[in-house]
């Protein structure tokens, strides 16, 4: 099967299609047991993500945002409630999503190019060598890793490894992206460029996205909807639609007054949570 068949057609212009429910979490709770003690990481979380929506989850670290992604990816089962994808319960590794975890999970014994191309070695996405080379080169170009194709992950900086991981995920164009702090290790300029590139790709390919970040600016710039999480246990404190147009220019957006207003509004919610999480960590010591 050629990779071209994996790419879904460009959107029909004009009529807005009825948005199906893509991902849904219904009254989900997750308990973890460490050293015999059980604690609740996520509590009473209900999220509905329609197809093609870009949802951002923000909150202090350790608030269970990543846990939500793990459940959608099918890597973790909820202790209570249910998680469905395309209407079917998620019960095993969800191969319809591309998941970029916080830790870059590049295979350390493969070069950058071989890491990025690995999806095409798998039976379900097999591509011939020439095709593969071409797509890998394209992706390497996209994430700005030209000249580093033959390097091993250990030879790259943290930011470069992140970009390679991003390329590896984007290369097979999954219909849904789960992104866990994808740009955290990048410097400011590169971050803006990568955000813009990702937006372009997501809009063009009509992907559904859940982005986890602690950077509120990033969330507002990129998402259609932002959810603020409380911490310990993670609950949804508030949510807000972000009314900016698509396709969107993130570079220019950040200078608009509406952007500042929304940012300020959400920040007032978020800062209490950050304060609470700092306080809790202090007490835990």
């Amino acid at each position: 099967m050629s990779h071209l068949q994996l790419i879904r057609p460009e959107p029909a212009t004009g009529a807005t299609p009825a948005r199906r429910r893509k991902i849904s979490l219904d009254k989900v709770a997750v308990d973890f047991t460490t050293r015999g003690k059980t604690f609740r990481a996520v509590d009473d979380v209900t999220i509905e993500v329609p197809e093609m929506q870009f949802l951002a989850l923000v909150g202090p670290s350790g608030c269970g945002k990543s846990t939500v992604l793990n459940m959608v990816a099918g890597l973790l089962a909820p202790s209570e409630g249910s998680v469905t994808y395309d209407g079917a319960p998620v019960e095993a590794a969800n191969t319809r999503v591309g998941y970029m975890t916080q830790k870059d999970t590049l295979l350390p014994w493969r070069s950058v190019a071989d890491n990025i191309g690995i999806a095409f070695e798998l039976r379900c996405r097999k591509a011939n060598a020439a095709e593969r080379r071409e797509r890998v080169a394209e992706m390497i170009d996209l994430v700005g890793l030209k000249g580093f194709e033959r390097h091993f992950p250990a030879e790259l900086s943290g930011g470069m490894r992140k970009r390679a991981a991003l390329a590896r995920m984007l290369i097979y164009e999954p219909e849904t992206l789960l992104l866990d702090e994808p740009f955290a290790a990048l410097d400011a300029q590169l971050r803006i460029l990568m955000q813009q590139e990702l937006l372009r790709l997501v809009e063009r390919r009509q992907m559904t996205v859940i982005l986890v970040t602690h950077d509120l600016e990033e969330a507002v710039l990129m998402a259609d909807r932002v959810m603020v999480f409380t911490s310990g246990p993670g609950r949804i404190r508030t949510e807000r639609d972000i009314p900016f147009e698509r396709p969107r220019n993130a570079m220019e957006l950040r200078f608009r007054p509406e952007f500042s207003a929304i940012h300020e509004e959400l920040w007032s919610e978020l800062k209490d949570e950050f304060a609470a999480s700092v306080e809790r960590e202090r007490r835990a010591q």
Binding site: L75, I118, R123, F152, A154
Partner: protein, 254 residues
């Protein structure tokens, strides 16, 4: 003069000094216990013109055949057993026990089973290398980064594909570490087997000389073994450097 050539010059001077002192002691005091470098060199030349290659072939064959059986079996069993949670849990105490037993202690038993020829040594080398490789690849399979497995699973990799693309290469690190033990150990095992009861091989060269109180013969055989052992060590180090280039970069980067 560059640093490295000066270093080698110093080493050469040291070597010559040691040999000269040895030779002087042998000539001026007595060569009864310590033989002498010249006598050893002469004996070596004599052996090289005679049956040294035959004995080396015997030891080499024992090592080669034993490793050819032991390594693949050990690596494969270790990986498969290590990936099964239940098998790993059930067999763990037995593995720990076997790991603590000095396996070469079984040499007399193997000689009793297989007699005087090469067989008991081949079995011994195979057994020792099997166990060393098994322990390493078992640990390697247990230590596979599960997040890498997850990543491939989400890309749609089947269990077999995950095994081939994640488990096998990440075990390779441990396998190479195992080889670094197994190859020198194979020589040790073969020599022990030959010293215990044999009519040929490098170990036999030692015992033969010892029985005749032929000190020159003992030192010559030790020299040959030192060269063979050194070559094996050097070879495995080279092999490791080639196969695990990515890992060296990793440790250097830290």
């Amino acid at each position: 003069m560059t640093d490295s050539s000066r270093l080698w010059l110093q080493r050469a001077i040291l070597l010559v000094a040691i040999l000269a002192a040895w030779e002087a002691c042998a000539r001026l005091v007595s060569d009864r216990w310590i033989s002498s470098p010249v006598a050893i060199a002469e004996r070596l030349a004599q052996w090289m013109a005679g049956d040294l290659w035959y004995h080396m072939m015997i030891t080499g064959t024992e090592i080669g055949a034993g490793l050819a059986i032991g390594i693949p079996l050990g690596v494969l069993t270790g990986m498969l057993l290590g990936r099964s949670k239940r098998m790993a849990a059930v067999f763990r105490p037995f593995i720990v026990l076997m790991n603590s037993l000095p396996i070469v202690a079984l040499t007399p038993l193997l000689i009793m089973w297989f007699g005087l020829g090469m067989q008991p040594k081949i079995v011994l080398v195979a057994f020792v290398s099997f166990l060393l490789m098994f322990f390493n690849s078992f640990s390697g399979a247990r230590a596979v980064d599960e997040e890498l497995m997850d990543t491939l699973a989400l890309m749609g990799a089947s269990a077999k594909e995950r095994f081939v693309k994640v488990v096998v290469p990440s075990c390779l690190t441990w396998t190479i570490a195992g080889l670094k033990n197994a190859l020198p150990y194979a020589l040790i095992a073969a020599v022990i087997g030959e010293m215990m009861l044999s009519r040929n091989g490098l170990g036999h060269l030692i015992t033969r000389s010892a029985q005749q109180f032929d000190m020159t013969g003992i030192y010559t055989a030790l020299f040959v073994l030192m060269v063979v052992g050194g070559l094996i060590n050097e070879g495995t180090t080279q092999l490791e450097n080639r196969l695990l280039r990515w890992r060296h970069l990793e440790t250097r980067g830290r």
